[in-house]
Amino acid sequence: MMWNFDCYGDALAVISENGLRVSYARFGQEARKLRDAIGGRCLVFTLCKNTPASLLGYAGLVENGVVPALLNAELDQELLRGLYDAYHPAYLWAPDGFAWDGCESVYSQWGYQLLKTPFGFETHLHDDLALLLTTSGSTGSPKFVRQSYRNIRANTDSIVEYLKLDATERPITTLPMNYTYGVSILNSHLLVGATILMTECGIAQRDFWTFFRQEGATSFGGVPYTYEMLDRMRFMRMELPSLRTMTQAGGKLQPELHGKFVDWCQQTGKQFIVMYGQCEATARMAYLPWERSKEKIGAMGIAIPGGRFELIDVDGTPITETGVTGELRYHGENVTLGYATCAADLEKGDERGGVLETGDMAQMDADGYFTIVGRKKRFLKMYGNRVNLDELERMLKAQFPGMDVACGGRDDHLYIFATREDVLPEMRTFLSQKTGLNMAGFHTQPLETIPKNDAGKTLYRELEQYVH
């Protein structure tokens, strides 16, 4: 058991924008009903939206030993099919009206239905396995991160401690539920008996703010793009007396904007907390204590309670001097078990032993605060979503044979390079459709040849000159 919903009795666990108010006791009952309909420990694909039913298909299952894989309800059908064929889940927990070949609806609640697949309980699960999350949700890569009960519990305890959460909190959803940062907000607030405000509306919609005010939201989380939008919308002119805390993760916020939000929060008696994490570490690894935010603009902070960082140079030796760049390595109980790329991997136990090579390049200052300065791996964050550039290249090469293509860019700006100019617009549309990410972030650049080294490997460095 992860949370013990029953201990908060009549306190509200969740309020939805369309008026559903669910107490902890009721949530616990509904979770047991869903478990009984499922019939035992097995794999369930939960197609997530920010609704109480979707929360039931996450927290209700984890609480009862059923293993959900959280996927975006808007995931491209073909990509979902690929995951379904690779993992053979026993059930899908999906919105009413969602149809899937070969499945039968056996239970429903709050606008969601339990679809029984023909696979039964054939996919075996390791006893420690609690949850599967994608690292790159939008590309439908068959790669999942395997999180254990202990991982989730350890990370949740740390978050509750450093954010000082209690039952008076009312976080409002701003992030997808299948996204590790969104999940961590749910985890930590359910543990303290707080009330989660769930809405499918976004910050650019009036209904979001109406709900926010009506229910007195106390906090929300955002990726860098969220804060750019809020700034652009002149959010700082809004009177939001109930708001206490804003957290930021999912990529590095521009220092200027970081400073702006810190100042606004100081003037209005709120807290702005920058954090750092990865799905591979359950969710959070570091936070920047709000009291020091102003003097540490641009930094992501210090390790969370129970965690520890070290910086490693190219030879694998720990770096002890300040201001020297190295790869960031993290130690803690929240370091997940490992990856899965097929059903058989779900039987595996812990492959990491509490140590994670983050793939991020960082520096430490004299006070022991860390700043991310680069990335070792080939991925970008698009509006907070990790997008694997090699995966996108593979998708493009499969769809558009007979030409050479490469992907590069910087956060929120993905560049497609191809040797045929006429197909570039089509490539752009294709990637936007497949990933569900807005086309505005996709740029194109025709090239006569994609630069390669003698071994035929793409020289991504040379592509950087085209990225603005």
């Binding site: 509306c201 650019a204 939008m229 936007s432 807005n438 505005a440």
Partner: protein, 78 residues
């Protein structure tokens, strides 16, 4: 270009949709008009009509039709 043409053009350019589709557009019903598209759209409208849209109006602009009403507040006649 008439104001209506400018208005349609803002949708076409910001959301990258064909002009014949814009009249039926509603926020959130396509990838084109998500939160990212919305901010591009607001910027395009501000440029096209040389106005500054208030936050209240930014979050109210939920459809092609609604946008027309909002622009009227900024003395833009379509």
């Amino acid at each position: 270009m008439t104001n209506l043409e400018k208005y349609i053009n803002a949708f076409v350019e910001a959301l990258e949709v064909p002009a014949e589709d814009v009249a039926a557009l509603v926020y959130g019903e396509s990838t084109a008009w998500d939160s990212v598209g919305h901010m591009s759209l607001i910027a395009a409208l501000e440029d096209a009509f040389d106005i500054m849209v208030d936050m209240d109006d930014i979050i109210d602009l939920s459809s092609f039709e609604k946008g027309k009403e909002i622009l009227a507040k900024y003395d833009v006649e379509l």
